[in-house]
Symmetry: C2
Subunit: 228 residues, 2 copies
């Protein structure tokens, strides 16, 4: 048996496994010592020595924390704890081609849940200016081809998220859009709800929060029907 085969059978302990362990250990250390954003971390050499690992392994683990946005290197101060971008890494893995069917379906549903629940925040924060902008988007929708329709769909629902006044939620929906579109294109024919975008604008102008919830539900009904 060649050495190469042997190492394949034995599955060598990759330096990656060590990086896994060091990553978790660093994470625990930062938590235990209550590090806050801006606090300086010990030097690489000290960390490597304390952990009893090579600097290469330590650097691999630090590189992961850096990728997550948990640490950053500051001029003169060295490594400090940073405020991670909580959606940054999420974005990296949201690719419809590599996500399994069940999770795709889950994400599709998640967006429906969000759009329905959004009424609460919209009715707390909507302004006349918002509604005028939304109306302009809805007005542009008539008599256009399919690619334009999708663009407008995104603009309309994106504006609704914006009106929620919640930036995290807005970024989140932008990330979910490709997944949503992917699932919709798997449908045989595009279906339309009885309540269209212009109807929703009218409800926002004169209707109650309950009216809007019912309107949004009717608007999304074809999607919900697919779940049954």
């Amino acid at each position: 048996m060649a050495i190469n085969d042997l190492s394949k059978d034995l599955m060598p302990i990759a330096s990656n496994t060590m990086a896994d362990i060091v990553e978790v250990r660093l994470r625990e250390y930062l938590k235990k010592k209550s590090f806050r954003p801006g606090d300086a971390l010990p030097k690489e050499l000290e960390l490597a020595e304390a952990l009893g690992v090579s600097r290469n392994v330590l650097r691999e683990a630090l590189s992961r924390l850096r990728m997550l946005g948990m640490i950053e290197t500051k001029k003169k101060r060295g490594m400090v704890l940073a405020r991670p971008d909580i959606l940054g890494t999420f974005e990296r893995v949201l690719d419809p081609l590599i996500i399994d069917t069940e999770t795709l379906q889950d994400i599709f549903e998640l967006r429906l849940v969000l759009e329905t629940g959004l009424a609460e925040l919209i009715y707390i924060r909507k302004t006349d200016k918002d509604i005028a902008e939304l109306e302009n988007i809805a007005k542009k929708e008539v008599n256009h081809d399919n690619s334009f329709r999708i663009k407008n769909e995104i603009a309309f629902h994106g504006k609704l998220y914006e009106m929620s006044g919640n930036d995290t939620l807005k970024r989140f929906q932008i990330m979910l859009l490709p997944i949503f579109d992917y699932v919709v294109t798997l449908e045989k024919k595009p279906t339309k709800g009885k309540v269209n975008h212009m109807d929703l604008v009218q409800i926002l102008k004169t209707g109650t929060k309950e009216d809007f919830k019912k309107g949004m539900e009717a608007h999304l009904k074809p999607h919900f029907d697919r779940l049954k």
Copy 2:
């Protein structure tokens, strides 16, 4: 000026920066070549040569993709594209102590939006067995101290997410719970909605989806009021 100072002023190009570039390049390559889960990647040596980078830099980039769950090493087959756990990395950075106040508030709102929108899925999928279990959780709530109250709160709302039949959503809410609790403990005194858990159970038994939406809204009202 000591060499040490100079290097601090010039900000040396870290191997980390190279790993950033290689990570993006690998990601683009996998997408362009339409790699699907299970497909084998080229060998490390080939990749390093094609990219014109050292194996150390390549390994650092691969280690990140491995951390994201995008690649895994299979016995005899080497590195293959894997199905990433889309919530795995998200979980790593969701620490209330390092997230800024505005994002904490956004996440708090996100959960309120989800709980309200959840009615759609619950009414499509709820079973009598589910409702019986939920009722048992609600029954245990009387006359207990605060720590038990929080535990039961988690059990009750967790069960509702479970009833949605959406695993991604359920895992998501488990991750958001520490953030939610953190924000709630910043309140001066715990506030209670007019509709309690037992009321919600009764609605699920005999009420319509609209009744449930209104009930949940009343249950969460103290939280929504904080937003105004």
